[in-house]
Amino acid sequence: MVHSGPMPNPPRRRPVDRMPESAFQLLVEGVVDYAIFMLDPDGHVASWNSGAERIKGYRADDILGRHFSTFYPPEDIAAGKPDRELEIAIAEGRLEDEGWRLRKDGSRFWANVVITALFDATGDLRGFGKVTRDMTERRRAEQALLERRRLVHHLVEAQELERRRIAWDVHDDSIQSMVAVGMRLQLLADRVPEEHVATVTRLDQAVRSAVERLRMLVFRLRPPEIDRNGLVAALEEYLGDVAPMWDLAHAVRDELEREPPVDTAITIFRICQEALTNVHKHARATAVEITLSTVDRGTLVVIADDGIGISLTRDHQAGLEHFGMIEMRERAETAGGWWTLGIRPEGGTAVRFWLPTTSDTA
């Protein structure tokens, strides 16, 4: 840090009596969160503290004088890891490692280990200081997070696959059949007695509008082309297609500092689709804006409209919107994020959600 003004006077130090070594020893012995102990130059345990006893399960009497390879699992011993670690510590001054270690009862824990080589004033190796932390809980949490990411990845993949399958089925089966029905109804309208023509024509119109709705469904189900141009472009393209049909002015504001990974991007796209459908069906809005930004190692998305707000829509009270909302919230929460719906002070509704970055590399 650079100071431009005069330096403030340093606080006055209170003179202290130098603590006796025994006090320092008390401190080390009393620490329970870390195993802190010494090894002699050959790797035999030369001291022990409460933390070591708690983490490794040995009492001082059990372990003093034994070689520290006792703490390593058989595969590490077979690979010569204990000796190699001491060699590295001697050569480089210290060594840090994370890996499995054994407790006295044979159970394993995930340890962070620092071995420091200790030399005296003449440069002779006097032994090693060893500090071990039990990282099992942290590792478990990391593993759980990884597992969750894997599951979310599979879930998104499975959902997309299923959507594609449904889209094909609707497109190649339902729509075709209904088109054929419509063609036949039109033929029929030319042949039935005059008094039935209006009914048949209405049927044909109903079929045709159902075909249109099914086409829209297929359009919504199709996979977003995020791979090609990224999330923002996929959303702009989607809005460019649907907004004119829905008489909605639209904008996508891109404040992303980095593109979310594909899984997350697909989830964001699907939630936006659902939110936009709600805007179209219920909000009576004239404009909608999607803002994407990078916040807290994740992506924050706000879909704001200028409609009548959620509390005024009849459908909301009837619970008809409910399913879309549950789906949006579940998608966000499954991906480890959150989702909210609120009324904007300036009028209209805002859907806000945040998804963490799920890529291991990002």
Binding site: D172, I175, S177, A180, M183, Q186, L187, V211
Partner: protein, 126 residues
């Protein structure tokens, strides 16, 4: 009399098209093909004036049929009749030699009018 070959793998659509076209006194359906290979064979055999052609069909799809017909039946004109309306598919069919493109769901009158217009037209293929 304008002679028409129908190519669609959906049997209901094929039959409906047949009934729509044969309801017109100036149009005759020579055959209905349900695969791309059948479509090419039947076109060579009957040399129809017009082929009403689906895009997605077993055996190479409408694209293959349109390309083959351009060489094998140069006087036959092709109308695509497809559930796909995306620009990429339309462009690909046009490049393959399709003169008109109808999206499934258009009124029967549009189908009939398009077939008649193509049959009348003195202009060649694209």
């Amino acid at each position: 009399m304008t002679r028409v070959l129908i190519c669609d793998d959906d049997i209901m659509i094929g039959e409906a098209l047949h009934d729509v076209l044969t309801a017109e006194s100036d149009l005759a359906v020579v055959a209905i093909a349900h695969t791309a290979s059948d479509a090419i064979d039947l076109a060579e055999r009957h040399l129809p004036d017009i082929v009403v052609l689906d895009v997605r069909m077993p055996g190479g799809g409408g694209i293959r049929v349109a390309r083959e017909l351009r060489d094998r039946c140069p006087t036959t004109r092709v109308v695509a009749f497809s559930a796909y309306a995306d620009p990429a598919t339309v462009a690909e069919m046009r490049r393959a030699g399709v003169t008109e493109y109808l999206v499934k769901g258009v009124p029967n009158t549009d189908i009939v009018a398009t077939v008649r217009r193509l049959a009348r037209g003195p202009f060649g293929k694209l």
